[in-house]
Each structure stands twice: as structure tokens, then as C-alpha cells.
């Protein structure tokens, strides 16, 4: 086109030699290679991660399946002596530990999830980055770094002071675990609430809906799948805790269903205790039914049970997330 029609917008605009910016063969090749290379690297990352993951699962399954049977799931460890079979025909089991794990983790959930969600609501919906909120969210970060063993010491001492020395029971373990869960719950809920588009809050508020209902029925509802998966992560974070429960919930061979009195065994503690026993003694005159390697076998079987419990919890969480799933924008 002729020079004189040169566009009034571009008056004074520099003249650009676009050939300079044309993709050259080499630059295109470089980009393509880079793209392929990164795709390869990213896929490789996955493969690398799969090695230990598969190995952990494989080891646990192969070693655990050996003793995992109905007897193992329906009996506790009372009356188990050395490598000898019990009157029921098994070698002891994890019923008490499954009950303990579910109750203690459940207790921790009941404490930390409501508090965690409301704290996230405070941070995202009410605080708007005020001084207090900054402090709270900073401290939540800090709290996520509390070593589990310290959480255990904290719960232990708190119960010692309030309920007398030597108090050991399930809820004490729940308190220790909830201290560990809380920051994870708050952080993930916070992230999820932040992701809820502001448009939706405005739309609801503009309808004359109170803030409480907007948060409860729009914001939390929209973020629900994320919150559920966040809480599952938080549970996953604590369900396998061993060190704090050794101090707070203790270890017992029999079944205790009372969260508020008496020691309770959890699955991870059970695994650890059986691992610590390593092997059982079989006296010289023992029958072939006496299995010296039984403690390690029980440890692996309990580890497998623990993984299955986690799997089931995950499944439940996913199902919940799916049922309430929010269709995202196209």
C-alpha cells in the first residue's frame, strides 16, 4: 500500500523490520527440541517417582499378604506368646489397632476440620490481609512445621497437667494429631477459598444475600471438592503418625473402644512395635506351628492393612468430591 495512506494511529510509530523477528529454522528447531526434551524430562520424572512408589507398594503387598487373613483382622494381640499360634488358630491380629486408628484419627478430624475451615474462612473472607490475619496465616505456616514428636510431647504434657500424671488415652492422641492436621487443613482450605472467583461472591452479595450465607452456600459449596481433598491430604498426613502416638495413646495388646480412657494401639504403632520385636523365640521343643519370623510378618501385614485403610478413606473422599463436583468454566 502507498505511503500516504499510512495510518493515523501509527503516526510517529517506529518502523519495524519484522524479518528480524521471523522464526529462523534454527530457532524453530531449538524450540521444538526443547519442547520434546522437556516433555521427555517430565515423563521421566514420573517414571523415576514410580520406582520407589511401586517398590514400596510391591514390598508391602508381597510381604503383607502372607498373614493378611480374616483371623488377622478379627483378633487382637492378647494371649499371643512368642511364635506360637493362638487358640483361634492365628498368630494374633490388628482388630484393636484398626479400631484405635479409626477412633483416634476420627477424633483428630472432629477437632481440626471445623476449626481449620473456619480459620480459613476468617483468613480469606473476613480478614482482608489485616495485621491479625497476617499473623494468623504466618503462624499457620509455622505450625505446619511443628515436628510430630513435639506435637506428641505437647499433648502428653497438656493431659498430664489437666488430668493428672501418666494419663494416656486415645483422645490425647487425637489432640496431638489435630495439632498436626490443623495447619494442613487451614492451608488447603485457604487455597481453595482463594480460588473461588470473586465474581461469585459479588453475584451472591448483589442478590442481597448475607455474607454468612454467601460463604456457606456459595463459597464453601464451590470450594467443597477442593476442601474435601485437602482434608484427605491432612488425614493422610496424620493417619500414619507413629512417634507422637507412642507417647500419647500408648500401646496395648487388647481391644479398647473407649477413646477417652485407657491406652489404644494404632496401626502405625503396631507396625513399629512388631518391627521392633523383629523375631519371636521358638523353644527347642516347639512344634512346626511356631513361626520365629512372625513379628515381621505381622508388621508387613499391618502395614498392608494400613495402606488399605488409607486407600478406602481416599476412595470415600474422592466419591464425596465427585458427587459434589463443580463443573469448571469451559
Amino acid at each position: 500500500m502507498a505511503e500516504e495512506t499510512k495510518k493515523k494511529n501509527l503516526d510517529g510509530a517506529p518502523v519495524i523490520d519484522f524479518d528480524k523477528f521471523r522464526p529462523s529454522r534454527s530457532s524453530e528447531q531449538r524450540r521444538n527440541v526443547m519442547d520434546k526434551f522437556m516433555a521427555g524430562l517430565i515423563a521421566l520424572a514420573f517414571v523415576i517417582a514410580c520406582i520407589p512408589l511401586v517398590s514400596v507398594l510391591w514390598t508391602t503387598i508381597v510381604n503383607g499378604i502372607k498373614r493378611l487373613n480374616l483371623n488377622f483382622l478379627t483378633y487382637n494381640m492378647t494371649g499371643v506368646v512368642g511364635g506360637n499360634p493362638t487358640p483361634s488358630g492365628g498368630y494374633g491380629g490388628v482388630l484393636h489397632a484398626i479400631i484405635g486408628t479409626l477412633e483416634i484419627t476420627g477424633g483428630a478430624m472432629l477437632i481440626s476440620i471445623p476449626i481449620g475451615i473456619m480459620c480459613a474462612v476468617y483468613l480469606v473472607e473476613y480478614a482482608h490481609g489485616g495485621k491479625l490475619a497476617m499473623t494468623v496465616s504466618l503462624l499457620v505456616d509455622v505450625m505446619s512445621g511443628i515436628p510430630s514428636i513435639v506435637a506428641g510431647l505437647f499433648a502428653f504434657s497438656m493431659f498430664t497437667i489437666v488430668f493428672g500424671p501418666g494419663t494416656i488415652n486415645g483422645i490425647e492422641g487425637s489432640v496431638a494429631l489435630s495439632l498436626l492436621m490443623l495447619p494442613t487443613v487451614v492451608k488447603s482450605c485457604e487455597e481453595m477459598l482463594k480460588i473461588v472467583p470473586n465474581d461469585l461472591r459479588e453475584a451472591s452479595l448483589a442478590l442481597g444475600v448475607t455474607k454468612q450465607r454467601t460463604i456457606a452456600k456459595i463459597v464453601l459449596r464451590t470450594a467443597l471438592p477442593g476442601i474435601v481433598s485437602g482434608c484427605i491430604l491432612a488425614i493422610a498426613r496424620v493417619i500414619g503418625e507413629t512417634a507422637p502416638l507412642l507417647m500419647t495413646a500408648g500401646y496395648i495388646a487388647s481391644t479398647n473402644v473407649n477413646l477417652f480412657a485407657g491406652q489404644m494401639t494404632t496401626l502405625p504403632v503396631y507396625v513399629y512395635q512388631e518391627y521392633s520385636k523383629l523375631s519371636a523365640n521358638c523353644p527347642a521343643n516347639a512344634t512346626a506351628a511356631c513361626v520365629p519370623t512372625i513379628p515381621m510378618e505381622r508388621a508387613w501385614a499391618a502395614a498392608l492393612v494400613l495402606i488399605v485403610v488409607v486407600l478406602v478413606l481416599n476412595l470415600i473422599g474422592r466419591l464425596v468430591a465427585k458427587i459434589f463436583a463443580v463443573k469448571t468454566e469451559r
Binding site: M38, A39, L41, I42, G145, P147, I149, L153, Q212
Partner: protein
């Protein structure tokens, strides 16, 4: 129409609910402060004999922990701290790149159907208890990884970090870091994956529209969007690594005291949390105070780490 009998600005219902809800939210926010203060106070209270108690008794207890090598609290805790940080940072470095890779693989590379399955696997792995990682690490990984670390020590031994000879069995910082990396990897992965998946389609299309390749699109749209999420995920992961007890306890051959970066040799470093677990059962009252003192230090260090990370996040977000 029903609107006609409305008077202007009639008071709305639900005000009490509004107030209560708000109050509960504030209370829960403040509860965090209270809980943390309680933990702090307790640790401080239990560690008090270290400061206010009989110093002679303190040195005796610490000497009993260290076979007489060290008798001052700082001389005891600083090497532990060094080891803790060394292990955690190594674990984070190993896990970070792999995790981001996996997160991107799930969010942007794998076919959608497969991706759901893959992220399920990763979520599940986040839930594998540390005691199982301890079992696996101590019994399976330690012998399996020896040839690799031995190779590293032989070929890269000139780097102080990899100075040989590689210990056999490999109950070393290097192996523990690998296990911790595996443990924290799902945390970083699942959080960054969630964030990556939230990258607005508009942003991604903007990049594609400019003729970006997939990787360039990720650099232009996905990573910047996810940056603060990645940092906070890494911090969560670091926090977990710093405080990890059982896996370290069950795998690492610890040192009594001393600073070392020889990660392929045994008995070179120790971590605070696992040291507490190892010493607590047999410790007397004063010994427990010393151990809680080390716990307090660990607590402070996580405070600092998170504080710094937080500042980085804030800057990046600005």
C-alpha cells in the same frame, strides 16, 4: 408484584447468623494464636531447667547423651540442627524437580483419563505412613541403593559432598534424603498439580495463540500462575522433612556430634526429631528437658524457614 409492599432498606434477616458466623470465624483465627502460644509456652516451660536449673546437672545429662564429648547445650544442638537442615534441603532438592515434573505430567501431559488415575496414585502415596517408609527404606532401599551411591562416591568423590568411601550398608544422609524426598514428593506434587490445573484457560490459550509450544505455554502461563503455590507446597514439604522422625530414626546411622557434609558416609550427621525419639524413652526428667530444648530449636528453625519462605512468596505475588 410482591416487591411493592417492600419498604426501602427494610432490615434484612439473618443478621444474628451473620454475626455468630463471623464471631466463630474470628475465634478460630485467634485460636491458632492460642494453640501456638500454648505449644511454645509448654516447650519453653519444659526446657526451662536448661536455663534456670542446675547447670552442673545439665552438663552431666548432655555428657551422658554424647559419651562425654560435649557438655554444653549449644555444642549438642547445633550439630543436630546442621544435620536436620542438611537432610531436609537435600530431600527437598531431590523432590522439587521431580514433583513439578509429575505435577505437570498429570496436569498437562497425560491424557485426561490416565491423569485421574495417576493423581490418585500420588494422593495415595502421600498417605503412606512414615513408619512404612522407614521399613521400606531400612530393609529394601538401603541394600539396593548401595551400588549407585558407591558409583557416585567413586566417580564424583572429588566433590566434598560425595566424598567416599561409600558406607555399606548405606544408612547415610544420602539414602535418608532419598526416602524423605519420596515422602514429601506427593505433597509438592498434589498441591502444585491442583494449582496447575487451575491455570485459567484464557491464559493458556493466550500463550498458545501466540504460537507457543506446550513447554513455552507452561513457562508463560502455568508456572507464573502456580509460582506462589509451588513455593508454599515446597515449604510444607520442607516442614515435613525437618520434622520427620520415624523414617530417619529407622534408616539413618547417626553421629553423636559433629558437622559433616559427607553424605555418603555413615555416622556423620543426625537430625533433631529422630534424636528425640531415640533418646526420649530412656531419658530421665532432665534429659527430657534437654530433648525438648532441642525440639524448641527445631521449632524456631521451622519458624525462620517458613518466615523467609513467606517473604519470598509475598514478593513473588506482588
Amino acid at each position: 408484584m410482591s416487591s411493592q409492599d417492600k419498604t426501602a432498606l427494610a432490615p434484612s434477616g439473618g443478621k444474628t447468623a451473620d454475626k455468630v458466623f463471623r464471631g466463630v470465624a474470628y475465634a478460630c483465627g485467634i485460636l491458632i494464636l492460642v494453640v501456638l502460644a500454648a505449644v511454645f509456652l509448654f516447650l519453653f516451660f519444659r526446657a526451662w531447667p536448661l536455663i534456670g536449673g542446675d547447670q552442673k546437672a545439665n552438663s552431666d545429662v548432655i555428657s551422658s547423651f554424647t559419651g562425654g564429648k560435649v557438655s554444653s547445650f549449644w555444642g549438642y544442638v547445633l550439630p543436630l540442627l546442621f544435620g536436620t537442615v542438611l537432610i531436609s534441603i537435600l530431600a527437598l532438592i531431590i523432590a522439587f524437580f521431580v514433583s513439578i515434573g509429575i505435577a505437570l505430567f498429570i496436569s498437562h501431559y497425560a491424557p485426561k483419563k490416565v491423569a485421574t488415575g495417576l493423581s490418585y496414585v500420588i494422593d495415595l502415596l502421600a498417605a503412606i505412613p512414615s513408619v512404612i517408609y522407614g521399613l521400606w527404606g531400612g530393609l529394601i532401599l538401603v541394600p539396593a541403593i548401595y551400588p549407585f551411591w558407591n558409583w557416585v562416591a567413586n566417580h564424583l568423590g572429588f566433590i566434598p559432598l560425595f566424598a567416599g568411601p561409600a558406607a555399606n550398608p548405606q544408612r547415610t544422609v544420602a539414602t535418608v534424603a532419598v526416602v524423605l524426598a519420596v515422602m514429601v514428593l506427593p505433597i509438592i506434587t498434589s498441591m502444585s498439580r491442583d494449582i496447575f490445573l487451575q491455570t485459567p484457560t484464557l491464559q493458556q490459550e493466550a500463550a498458545y495463540g501466540l504460537g507457543a509450544t506446550k513447554w513455552e505455554m507452561i513457562k508463560l502461563a502455568v508456572i507464573p500462575f502456580g509460582r506462589s503455590g509451588i513455593v508454599s507446597a515446597s515449604m510444607l514439604a520442607l516442614g515435613r522433612a525437618l520434622g520427620e522422625t520415624m523414617a530417619v530414626l529407622m534408616i539413618l546411622s547417626p553421629s553423636v556430634t559433629g558437622y559433616s557434609i559427607k553424605i555418603l558416609q555413615a555416622s556423620q550427621s543426625n537430625a533433631i526429631a529422630s534424636n528425640i525419639a531415640a533418646q526420649y524413652p530412656e531419658a530421665n526428667d532432665l534429659g527430657v528437658s534437654v530433648l525438648i530444648g532441642t525440639g524448641l530449636i527445631l521449632f524456631l528453625i521451622t519458624f525462620i524457614v517458613n518466615f523467609v519462605a513467606r517473604k519470598i512468596t509475598e514478593k513473588a505475588g506482588a
